[in-house]
Symmetry: C2
Subunit: 332 residues, 2 copies
DNA sequence: TTCCATATATTAAACGTTTAACCTATTATC
DNA sequence: GATAATAGGTTAAACGTTTAATATATGGAA
């Protein structure tokens, strides 16, 4: 079954390729093609089940109607949800999504950017890995439309869709304080990414404000050694001189590993120790007590990312370039 | 910054486009281009940072080096993991992955197939939705390389990567029996998909074998009304005339909702009632007791799917066309 | 009649590749 | 010295579009 081209339609109707192209692209505005012929072409295209050749189109037009999505790990629910909404949203606008994983590795991120550039995507949506400023700067120089999501680099002037990390962490910490906690630990990744640092800052400021901040209470774990480091961190927390009565986990993976690790101790969670998690997990619903957590507006993030990107790609009036969405503290 | 083409390289070196093309594609086998010129071309390409135009290439060659992945919902961990490994594997082979979600809807699946066909992907990896035989048949007719994964249609002769649903369910049920259960319920989706039916069959055969099968103990819930229907099913189970002492949940979503729902009753799980789940969930690790579950070899599934697809696309000797991988019963 | 507008289509170049077929100069063979 | 083989390229068509520029026929106005 041979592929149907404009040429075939043109031949069957005895007109030129150009005429067919004009009609099928709705570009016969000023009555360039007669009503009758227009209809004939449309009908014939339907009859032959014409599907445009996107390669030829893209080659000619220089636009591919594709976007590349680069996330850390698509098997992570957060990124999976983000990808879901981005795909749905992009499709509505006529764009198709390529997907790539970095596993939080700079070199993989670089590879993916290169790959997608070679694929001539019209734009990129990226959750940048730690230390990828240079890559992002290169992207800026290369004048490729892109938008960062979930994370960004404050010193770079790039389009981004983020949440109010500082504020929500601050509020969440205060929530623990309000519940009566006086000695709250903060468990985070050993890294240097703005969004994570902001979460820490939110916690620290809240603690300082009431004169209860203790640097000892900030525990850092390594991404590649999560389980092991968490065990150690929790152990330290449990042995703490001054009894810890609250723990704030800075990310979803840390939250899960942390809670899991806490089960090894005979304490009553949400009684002896209050916990606060970042991101939702279906796991929380299986626990015999309720876990307060920070819920990110993932669907909205995806939508805004696509919107922001397409406004660059299609040269709209450049909407808001730095979108900050509000996360919610869920406590039921 | 203008895009670098073969033409530019050719002009700079005063040779023809063809020569440059041959060299950069490693097709100057029989010494068609001299060593010296070859090197010059390679160097110049590097210097100008040449990136081939994939559209032109695909247009000419009729192959795009892309594959389309169609899953139900990329935010579901199972599909996310599958996608992760498929992407990694495909990339290694020089293919890039498009992603699409069906949300288990036939019409969305159709849309995605159409979309990816228009994108001229070289092949498709699909987890087909219920009732999509016709779409799959059309795909066969259209002679498009594809492979079904996770699910298939036994009456259609299509390439597929599945797990041993019947056998693992049979074994898992027997495991419950061995633990002393005598009246085991099976909770599944109200649908008609082969892989799910096979799970049911595995359970039924095991029960029949020991003369303990009771049709009343099979409960069906609707995909779109999971929470509600599960509550009802669990309620029925708890009210069962003859006390239920084991429950086998047929999918990961059902497992989670089921366990969650069970918490509303004052029974001791894994004591009063033994449970068995399909698919792993991080949530299980948060429970104070261990949950036995069926673990699917997702990475292997992804790898095999890509391998199988590419053997079609690249016309290798057609390896195994019906791959059945073994799931494992995890019980720690 | 001559000129102009209008309606309706066509022509042809261009996008950047790939590749079969062809060309030319040099060297080897008889 | 004639012929053939080889090395080292080049030419040109083709893939399927888009679109600016051009063509042609018809009818109306002057």
């Amino acid at each position: 079954m041979e592929r149907v081209s404009l040429k075939m339609i043109a031949n069957e109707l005895g007109v030129s390729i150009a005429t067919v192209s004009l009609v099928l692209n709705g570009k016969n505005k000023n009555g360039r093609v007669s009503q009758g012929m227009s209809q004939k072409i449309i009908d014939k295209a339907a009859e032959l089940n014409y599907v445009p050749n996107n390669f030829a189109k893209s080659l000619k037009m220089g636009r591919s109607k594709t976007i590349g999505l680069i996330v850390a790990d698509i098997s992570n629910v957060f990124f999976g949800s983000l990808a879901l909404h981005i795909q749905i949203c992009a499709e509505k606008a006529g764009y198709t999504v390529f997907i790539g994983n970095t596993n939080e590795k700079l070199i993989e991120m670089e590879k993916m950017i290169k790959l997608f550039k070679a694929r001539q995507v019209d734009g990129l949506i990226i959750t940048p890995t730690e230390g990828s400023e240079k890559l992002i700067k290169d992207l800026l120089k290369a004048d490729i439309p892109f938008v960062l999501v979930d994370r960004s680099f404050p010193e770079l002037d790039v389009d981004s869709v983020l949440i109010n990390n500082y504020q929500i962490s601050n509020v969440s910490t205060k929530h623990l304080l309000k519940k009566g906690c006086r000695n709250i630990a903060f468990v985070t990744y050993k890294q240097d990414q703005f969004h994570i640092n902001e979460r820490k800052r939110g916690y620290m400021e809240a603690m300082k404000e009431v004169g209860l901040f203790n640097p000892e209470n900030v525990k850092e774990v390594r991404y590649g050694f999560l389980e092991k480091d968490i065990r150690k961190a929790i152990s330290q927390i449990m042995k703490s001189e001054k009894k810890i009565d609250g723990i704030f986990f800075a990310t979803n993976s840390i939250s899960l590993a942390g809670v899991k690790s806490l089960f090894n101790y005979k304490i009553e969670l949400q009684k002896d120790i209050q916990i606060m998690c970042f991101d939702e997990s279906e796991a929380f619903y299986l626990l015999p007590f309720s876990v307060p957590f920070v819920k990110q507006p993932i669907e909205e993030m995806g939508k805004q990312a696509v919107r922001s990107l397409l406004s660059q790609v299609e040269r709209h009036a450049n909407e808001e370039r730095h979108v900050i969405l509000n996360a919610a503290l869920i406590n039921k």
